[in-house]
Symmetry: C2
Subunit: 325 residues, 2 copies
């Protein structure tokens, strides 16, 4: 199983009419301080506030009309839920979203406003996999996985393609590229796109402390999981273990995994506000956090980081702002 640059180019053609080409932001004061050229891909400004629409839409586009017609199913409590509902509606097919019953009310309302049928389940007592399988089979729905799918990865990879293209307009190539990782779909797709254009570039997935399954898996050469329990404010990045397909696609492309703390994430959110004037959710800020907290040496380099989403609770954002007082 692999994802090629051509898969990403195909995805880019499909996505052009439906996604925003988000800006690649820089700030000369930040560059002076870092001694580097830092570019922030502001996917927090993407439709529905996250990169997820790219993968969900590309997946549904890649289905045959027959496979697509009965509709799609996703399990998610967050950005992928909203993205799948939105993408299904663009194709005029039903979407069933299996969500934990304690999912944020706003996300559930958004998925429903987009025409999604939300099926709640109890995290404590019910088996999500079994629920999804039963619904999918009974209704002939195609599963839109959040990351463990080549078409989803190709869709997310268009973020990397746009980074490379927008740098090329400025006569630049990336030396270092960082993207957040939960299952690893975005980071894998971005690595494919970037390494195609700049084979010497180093690509890094970035995770929050306590959910560094991908970093440890890359170091160990085998797929490792996290201890159970949520330990990070980066609620978008809390998976059990890396995706099988992202690992297959990108483990040879990634330099290594980087890990940041909650404090570093909050600082990055605050700097994103101050310097780039963007709203980044905790999970979306880990790549910037890795650079600003000095996890890698960026001096003299052209560095691109993905700010992958901007769906953040006002109270959490206020917590980040308080660090600037």
């Amino acid at each position: 199983m692999t994802v090629t640059i051509n898969d990403i180019r195909t995805a880019a053609r499909r996505l052009a009419p439906v996604v925003r080409r988000t800006p690649l932001l820089n700030d000369e004061f930040v560059d002076q301080a870092l001694g580097a050229r830092l570019f922030v891909k502001a996917e927090c400004l993407q439709r529905y506030g996250a990169f997820k629409i790219r993968g969900a839409y590309n997946k549904i586009a890649s289905l045959t009309p027959e496979a697509r017609a009965p509709g799609v199913l996703a399990f998610s409590s967050g950005n992928h839920a909203v993205a799948t509902a939105a993408a299904a509606r663009m194709f005029g097919v039903p979407a069933v979203i299996v969500m934990p019953s304690d999912a944020p009310a706003a996300k559930r309302a958004q998925a429903e406003a987009l025409g999604g049928e939300v099926v709640p389940y109890d995290r404590a007592t019910e088996d999500r996999e079994a629920i999804c399988a039963a619904i999918a089979q009974a209704r002939g729905l195609a599963l839109v996985k959040p990351f463990d799918d080549a078409d989803v990865i190709a869709g997310q990879g268009t973020v990397g393609l746009e980074i490379v293209e927008d740098l090329a307009v400025q006569g630049l190539k990336p030396d270092l590229v960082l993207a957040c990782a939960s299952g690893g779909g975005l980071a894998a797709g971005v690595a494919v796109a970037v390494k195609d254009a700049a084979p010497d570039a180093l690509a890094f997935p970035v995770e929050p402390e306590g959910h560094d399954d991908l970093a440890r898996s890359l170091a160990a050469g085998e797929r490792l999981g996290n201890a159970p329990g949520i330990r990070s404010i980066a609620d978008a990045l809390l998976v059990d273990k890396p995706g099988v397909i992202p690992l297959a696609v990108a483990s040879s492309l990634w330099a290594r995994g980087l890990v940041v703390s909650d404090e570093e994430i909050l600082d990055a959110m605050a700097q994103a506000f101050l310097r780039f004037r963007i709203i980044v959710e905790p999970g979306g800020a880990v790549a910037l956090a890795a650079v600003l907290s000095g996890k890698i040496d960026v001096r003299g380099k052209v560095v691109a980081v993905v700010a992958s989403g901007g769906n953040v609770d006002p109270a959490m954002f206020a917590r980040a702002l308080a660090r600037l007082a």
Copy 2:
């Protein structure tokens, strides 16, 4: 004295290599709630965080090389100060920025980091006009006014040109366009650009309560000032009276002036965070505030608002966020 669409097109060509083409954002949930199609021109994502670089750069570009060589002078404590310093540096000429001694330290530091020479003066005891005139004459500097200048207005008008162009790509023309006004340079330039492309469109300058000099001037048919004293959180919009040239250019183009309260501004900043995921300073939020608070009937219309700047103190932004709790 006038500003034509050709002046704005000339400015657009000059500006293309140096400014960001900021995104025109929309959100279908907002549109559903309003019964309209609302587009937000996110100039808060412009370089240096505000539209001001457009006018300052176009002004300096329009000077003869001889007039430009000794350098430029601006008086400002805010976004125009930073923009003028930045634009002067792009041309490799000196910039002197006359700033009140109680100006925000961050703005002074930014102007200096951009190579500007900051000359402080005491608001209470010194005459700014006299200081500027003396420095300009002694050193042969060209004055870059914040709004009362046709080349500055043409530069700001490129915001309107981009709105019109980006709507046209979607097969749309604006029915209503709103932009903030202090002296009126941005609102005048935007009106020229929009009325050229869509003569039936209505263009509105928007001001904060207590600084509604332009709205009252338009209603009265004569140039009126505000009572002295600061009465709004929109610190970027606190002038004594409208600019002479903005009025000459656009008084026949504007429908009428709209006025919003501090509370409406804070609500708009909060909604901009929640719905568009952008950071808008109080002065930059007045146009959105006018729409969201129902100052005009938008139902069934294509509406464009300029979010003109994003340089906001974290404490002030937190105050807006607190309204979402």
